[in-house]
């Protein structure tokens, strides 16, 4: 009896630890709202989200983040446009085509790429790609949408590649064997059997890649150029939401409207990525792969 009580107590202690992630999520929401909500006494939610003027330090100040949202969306969209083909194809290469003996090494390449700190990639884009781009295309600045997108794509590729790879591995071997037995080539098997079976995992990968790119900070802070205006071309500068928060928090007076507005941008960013993560989670469970899928 005594032992049973003890066992139960221990179980509940571990249960409490398991709740930590949920509690931290709750605390994130709490601290964002506590510091961010006061801005909505000054501007309405629709003016905040749809207002085109971001002049947080002018007098009178203007807190419209529409151009920041546009900046985030454009940079993310372009990055995903580059990262999805590269990420998915490299996953196919590693999972299905690469010789087994060097597979582990190839996987490490993707893992090492994932390990490169974002500030290093931002530095690379700023110091190497930007001057080159400026000179080659005769631009006013190399710190622009396309540069930031390329660097962001490099950041998103490992996420997309490694999750897609897991999805490809999870396709049961019988599917492959059946396809070969019908006389299909390796290419036909990959294109018509393996990839379609892994599609839910691959879409999960893409959505998590998007979520990663939207929230990435240092790259867009250092490489996107920082102009808070709606861009006219992909060679213009933008100021995505994370860049605005990171660049301005240091100079925003504590407890002022500017300070609160940056937290409010954080709220938008948090719920945007939360939505993408929930969609990814839903997809991977709703369309659970047949066989020994682990996603």
């Amino acid at each position: 009896m005594n032992r049973k009580i003890k066992e139960n107590i221990i179980k509940y202690i571990f249960f409490a630890f398991a709740l930590v992630s949920i509690i931290v999520l709750g605390l994130i929401v709490l601290s964002l709202f506590r510091e961010g909500m006061p801005i909505f006494k000054l501007v309405s939610l629709s003016d905040f989200l749809l207002g085109k003027d971001w002049y947080p330090t002018s007098d009178p100040a203007s807190f419209g983040i529409f151009s920041l949202i546009v900046g985030s969306v454009i940079v993310t969209f372009l990055a995903i446009f580059i990262a999805v083909p590269l990420g998915v194809l490299s996953a196919i290469y590693i999972a299905e085509i690469a010789p087994a003996s060097i597979k582990e090494i190839f996987k490490s390449v993707i893992e090492l790429l994932a390990g490169i700190p974002s500030v290093v990639l931002g530095f690379f884009g700023m110091v190497i790609i930007a001057p080159w781009m400026q000179e080659t295309f005769d631009l006013p600045t190399g710190l622009n949408i396309i540069n930031a997108s390329v660097i962001l794509a490099i950041m998103a590729i490992p996420t997309i590649s490694s999750i897609s790879e897991d999805a490809l591995y999870a396709v049961p071997n019988e599917f492959k064997e059946a396809s070969y037995a019908l006389g299909a080539t390796r290419f036909e098997t990959i294109a018509k059997v393996i990839v379609p079976s892994a599609l839910s995992g691959i879409s999960t990968a893409v959505i998590l890649g998007i979520s990663r790119a939207i929230g990435e900070t240092m790259v867009v802070l250092m490489v996107a150029g920082g102009a808070a205006a709606i861009p006219g071309s992909i060679f213009d500068s933008v100021r995505p939401m994370p860049a605005s928060i990171a660049a301005e928090m240091g100079e925003a007076p504590f407890g002022g409207a500017h300070y609160h507005s940056l937290f409010a941008i954080g709220i938008v960013l948090f719920f945007l990525t939360l939505a993408f993560n929930l969609i990814a989670d839903y997809l991977s469970h709703k369309f659970h792969q047949s066989g020994s899928a682990t996603l």
Binding site: F14, I97, F276
Partner: protein, 292 residues
């Protein structure tokens, strides 16, 4: 007849060759991007790296001297993050693998972990600022930064620990329970020791992440410049990633300090990728020499 079958086969194999070519090319692009980046940084950074660079304070408003305080600061923050993330993560994983019964509660916890993993790093920074720096009044400090980074790496550690715990064969648990050992003793004496190497290597990847993050420490721990090393956990620190950002964007002598910037990047890369590479090597060794 035969001819048309032949030509259709040729066409099918041609498509395959073309596709394999494209697939190889895309992997090659990624590998070259990684290789090119590393090579460029090594070539440009290796020149400034010497013992002085690593062991002395910056001087002349950070245009000369070393980066010692940034290295020390990054070590403090990373160790702090591990001290917070590792116990929480492992305990959490123990519940999920050893105690939990599949059901709605577990589903919610798992969704929570996934969502936490997806929170942008800058939002973690805001969270740390709002909760630890402002609400709990820790100020911008090692403590606030370590807590923020510790929660940031929590999902990574939970994932690694879960995988390692699941890899311990069920028969180990059964054998222990059959001897009359209680469940928690089985976990502490049998399951955990066997899972420990896996937990540690998996967590190393989290360490690399904590060492390289910039946005979460910008508002919670990192200082532009400190004249001496911090004396307590309530002190601000310099950190390698933030130092790179500062030198590359905010200095008055950005062009002049370029070699120092490359040197700092090289040190950071060496630390982070060194840690990651270690984990990858140990893991593949372990997979090869599995005892069960």
């Amino acid at each position: 007849m035969n001819e048309s079958i032949n030509s259709s086969m040729k066409w099918r194999y041609f498509k395959q060759t073309l596709f394999f070519g494209i697939v190889r090319l895309s992997f090659l692009i990624i590998a070259l991007a990684l290789g090119g980046l590393l090579l460029y940084i090594v070539i440009n950074g290796i020149g400034v790296i010497n013992l002085d660079f690593i062991t002395t304070m910056p001087t002349d408003s950070m245009t000369r001297g070393g980066i010692m305080p940034a290295i020390v600061g990054t070590i403090y923050l990373t160790v702090g993050a591990i001290l917070i993330g590792l116990p929480l993560g492992v305990a959490s994983a123990i519940y999920l693998t050893e105690y939990a019964v599949q059901g709605r509660m577990i589903r919610i916890i798992k969704i929570g972990i996934n969502c936490l993993a997806g929170v942008p790093s800058v939002v973690f920074g805001l969270f740390g600022l709002g909760l630890f720096v402002v609400m709990l009044k820790f100020g911008s400090s090692i403590l606030a930064g370590s807590l923020t980074l510790g929660f940031l790496i929590l999902p990574t550690i939970i994932g690694a620990a879960e995988e390692a715990l699941k890899a311990v064969p069920q028969t180990f648990r059964e054998a222990s329970l059959a001897l009359g050992v209680s469940k928690w003793q089985t976990i502490f004496r049998i399951v955990l020791p066997n899972a420990l190497p896996g937990i540690l290597t998996g967590s190393i990847l989290g360490v690399g992440r904590a060492a390289g993050e910039t946005a979460p420490i910008m508002f919670t721990a990192a200082a532009f410049f400190t004249a001496k090393l911090p004396e307590s956990i309530f002190g601000e620190v310099m950190a390698l990633p933030y130092h790179i950002y500062v030198l590359a964007t905010a200095g008055t002598h950005i062009e002049e300090t370029r070699p120092m910037q490359f040197g700092t990047v090289l040190v950071l890369i060496a630390v982070v990728l060194g840690i990651d590479l270690l984990a990858i090597i140990i893991r593949s060794r372990m997979r090869r020499n599995k005892r069960w």
